[in-house]
Subunit: 336 residues, 2 copies
Amino acid sequence: MNQRENNITLAHGSGGRAMHRLIAEVFRSRLSNPILLQGDDAAELTLEAGRLAFTTDSYVVRPLFFPGGDIGRLAVCGTVNDLAMKGARPLYLVASFIIGEGLMMDILERVVDSMAQAAAEAGVSIVSGDTKVVEHSACDGLFVTTAGIGRIEAGWTVSGSNVRPGDVIIVSGTVGDHGMAVMNARGDFGLGGEMASDAAPLWDLVAPMLNCGGVRALRDPTRGGLATTLNELAEQSKVRIVVEEECVPVRDWVRAGAEMLGLDPLYLANEGKLVAVVEAERADDILKVMRANQKGREAAVIGRAEAGEPGVILRTSIGSHRPLLMLEGEHLPRIC
Amino acid sequence: MNQRENNITLAHGSGGRAMHRLIAEVFRSRLSNPILLQGDDAAELTLEAGRLAFTTDSYVVRPLFFPGGDIGRLAVCGTVNDLAMKGARPLYLVASFIIGEGLMMDILERVVDSMAQAAAEAGVSIVSGDTKVVEHSACDGLFVTTAGIGRIEAGWTVSGSNVRPGDVIIVSGTVGDHGMAVMNARGDFGLGGEMASDAAPLWDLVAPMLNCGGVRALRDPTRGGLATTLNELAEQSKVRIVVEEECVPVRDWVRAGAEMLGLDPLYLANEGKLVAVVEAERADDILKVMRANQKGREAAVIGRAEAGEPGVILRTSIGSHRPLLMLEGEHLPRIC
């Protein structure tokens, strides 16, 4: 910038000169790709005919930075993963920023750097965007909204409504890492050095699973955690899901933090994990390709779908059964 | 809802039970379409091969409701218009809501009703969405972000970088209506009963213009107004644009309000107007089809592109010339 500006001002959202400088010097330079550089209000893409997935999410996480990620990484991974969970190869994202006046410019730059890195990891381009600035009293820092489109390859049909009795439930790794890492970043509970969010783009894990055949449903257990996601699947497909508690992988620091805070890891958010519901006879092959990827190394079968009243039943390590309900209320606001 | 809730709470953004109720009862019921009802985290669409436009904008306007529109209508029209300005028929939108805790439920319902109506007017479907709730201190009500995709018909290439010397500049109607209507809604300046935002979807105005041929560039002059948009076109295409001040249509109440507030209508935001740059020999035909549509009834030629130093020159009614610069600073925060 002509004179280096250290903070975002309302002028950066005006549509005028300051906004054009911000776009050129903070966004376009970091996210650079030929489509973004077209410079019109909408990006032009060329696509083959076929089935597309289209999705959006807003990200309001606090703090903006935490071990293992930040709001920018979440904003890319979360939307990429929503596409992947529909069996779609993520292709293009757009990103919209609502910034509280006074945000330090280098914080915004770090967020955009992180988005650029996550987009490269995920193999997507960020092709268009928008910036609004509001008074500090109206936004305590930064909200990021992304939308994405992806291509669903011929023959793949993955939906939360496809689960059938007899199907096997797989989780791709430990649950609760993201939720507990963000909680710890808010008020250090001393959970140790390995503590980090799992935020990661998952298409490279999903594609070989789909190639195995037999994948009925995929869902990333973000807000509300594994328990809520399983309830969504049970309701959408009208099945009962039985989960073996001791089969659900949970890291020691997540378990310790959850006990300290009176939380259940099964309700903690994940940002780099998936739940897959697969045909029983394909489960072994699918587990094998999952475990060949670092992101699925700890993949585990955690339960089965059954005919019966829609809902989720948890079988505990001592053999008792209890209903595992969808999250009620809100215990961890602004976790993503 | 089981017990009717009058206000949004953090639980409505939890991912859990309350959020599922909100989605079903406020969003899905109002925006209903077969794709939205798929119920997965991403919507599945089927598209023909070809060129697509993809765009996003966040909307942070205050107040949420104003004569002629509201944040929901803007969130649909603004994104639809960004697609139309790329020569793309708007097809599908996704919408993401960041809600301040405590927002009255019926305000949210009115906004979603308005989005449904605007989407119907524009011929688009809202196919997926997201809801986040933050503490009231972090968002003073409601922010809406939409993203949209549209199809660019074969043969149409419209870009802000296509303007050439000799081209004619057309504006589709009066400028400043939206900016002044929102300003008046903030602090009633007594501008009279006809005062209203122009917020409207513009594809039905654009399609016949494109069918005429000779449309080089389209842009909707939102934040920063006509003056800023013309500067963008001049910079992107490296041309000089000369505007005849007295040819720019401005309503009396906009002129009166702008004088009272010390503002220039050429910098006031518009949400239902477009600037078209067209080949000189096609200008008459294009004006004719524009005027046949209510949204273009007052369309006027306001200037020309010339070779020369990139920039915009205003020729005033007394024949003097002055540079018309891009907006500097910010005089109307949160106008859209």
